[in-house]
Symmetry: C2
Subunit: 321 residues, 2 copies
């Protein structure tokens, strides 16, 4: 296998390399690319030291089997089609192609079937979307979700390493503010991405559109509020759902227990407890009637919400899924 990682020095890029190692995926050749700013730095992979190179126009004109992108939407827009045209399967962590009709948006546990025989660009969903659909997809199949209301508690690492650095600096007394629209230390900020004309944020519209695409159901009505909180790693979500078909609480729990890479638990319900894990932790499942319920979920946003999902896509595709 010949593999390239674009955006290798970023928070998600580094986790992709770590996750490849954990999964014992060791390509014969691996190339790491970054912007000119990080080019020249050395990264460890599978015991070897690899020099990161600047991504240039001709960098990806090669016979890669897989190219993982995590360098932002504009880099993906320019370089992903090029890599795909040279025959690589591209797994793109940016938002560039997620809403393109012909591009599969994949959470392997849910719609990994789309990977079978597929060549080209595969889109990796948004972090907050992945952990929500992993919690809900089996419940949706059985009880038909009509409405989802979700409020998020999103870690600063979702904005990359610079998000963590900004929190750390503010904790140390700095008043500087560059990454988030408001101070984030000892604060919560209910704006992630631009506020669009309909008054929803870009992050909220991602949750709406991506959830519908992954579940393959455009009828689900989704009402998100996405909020940044002073947490380093791990997104949390308070989720309310209304179903078409009546359920028993125990039946919801059955579906959660049967969901791959999901753990139903009363124990690990906060971000600091689950950071570093590849699972979605669901707790506080509760209801007053047979058509509506609440649950709380927590997952490592850099792993489950980005790098792990990307590597799971690669692994499933490479396995001939």
């Amino acid at each position: 296998m010949k593999l390239a990682v674009v955006g290798a020095t970023g928070e998600v890029g580094r986790m992709m390399l770590k996750k490849l190692e954990e999964e014992a995926i060791t390509p014969e050749e691996i190339d790491l690319f970054s912007s000119s700013r990080s080019a020249g730095s050395l990264m460890k992979f599978a015991g070897k030291s690899i020099e990161v190179r600047e991504l240039r126009e001709d960098s990806l004109r090669r016979d890669y089997d897989y190219v993982l992108f995590s360098a932002g939407a504009s880099v993906s827009k320019t370089f992903a089609p090029l890599a795909a045209s040279c025959g690589a399967v591209v797994i793109d962590n940016s938002s560039a192609f997620r809403q393109s009709e012909e591009i599969p948006l994949v959470v392997p546990e849910i719609n990994g079937c789309l990977l079978k025989g597929y060549r080209g660009i595969v889109a990796n969903p948004n972090c907050s979307t992945i952990q929500m659909v992993l919690s809900l997809h089996k419940i949706h199949r059985r009880f038909d979700l009509k409405t989802i209301v979700v409020s998020t508690y999103q870690a600063v690492s979702g904005a990359g390493n610079r998000g963590i650095v900004e929190l750390e600096r503010q904790e140390a007394g700095s008043q500087d503010q560059a990454v988030f629209v408001r101070k984030i230390h000892r604060n919560v900020v209910p704006v992630i991405g631009d506020i669009l004309e309909n008054s929803f944020s870009a992050e909220e519209m991602k949750m709406i559109n991506e959830t519908r695409k992954i579940l393959g159901d455009s009828k689900v009505s989704i009402w998100p509020t996405t909020v940044r909180v002073p947490v380093a790693h791990g997104h949390s979500e308070a989720v309310f759902c209304e179903t078409e078909k009546p359920f028993e609480l125990e039946e919801l729990k059955e579906e959660l227990r049967a969901s791959e890479d999901v753990v139903l638990t009363d124990e690990r319900f906060t971000p600091v407890e689950i950071a570093g894990s590849d699972l979605v932790y669901v707790s506080r499942v509760r209801s007053f009637d047979s058509h509506r319920f609440l649950l709380w979920n927590v997952a490592d946003n850099i792993r489950v919400g980005a790098a792990t999902n990307a590597v799971r896509i690669l692994k499933m595709h490479a396995g001939g899924a």
Copy 2:
């Protein structure tokens, strides 16, 4: 006016004194009570230094006009009826009497009419409830709320000064954990109060029962998730509502602009910006259809959510409302 404050040294008690000063309410006599632990300390009020005394069985057997309680439910259960039986109007910030049928649960801007000619115990609602009903009551009157889904982002000061101290200590590296069920620094904790048999938390059931009582409408279906966040002052809430009657978004905004002590704003939408204010800041009002909407509200939990509401009750009652 003769006045007593029980729990005067606590976070809310101290703010009650400050708010009385701000409102230029200067009783001829004022007595401050606390537990034996804080008794003997000196507090400033209206330029005078007052010694805080230990609350004892006979402390309130006097002709107080008003007694403000903020010392927890068990103290209120023991002492509030006693003070009331001696003729005082008791304004109780604890949960002890909020659900008693004969006790008014008052947010002056909403149901202050209940104070007219009333003698006895008046219950001050829970912090997270007050700011939510202040945001919603006029919309409810006009469009009839069927369902409310609310996720909270609650400051550590809601657990009193010891909540702030625990956050500060953890920020400084301490692993000690006494006030919150999990670490709160760089974390979010979706459990406030005990988890009850129905899997909802005590805080969540307060929001349900108190909102219904204040709105005078037991039919509203309320689905809360109450979450502690590492913020010192200021609770935030992501609120979703479904209405019986259709609305235009502009009509919702009209009702918000017409709501006393509520500010509709695009500017001040995070806790650090509004701490120290007596208003509820509502922002991010948005919708996709004519029966459902989302909004975000932020308010100072110790002021709007406790001390200011209590002093507003006192002021309205004393004014002969």
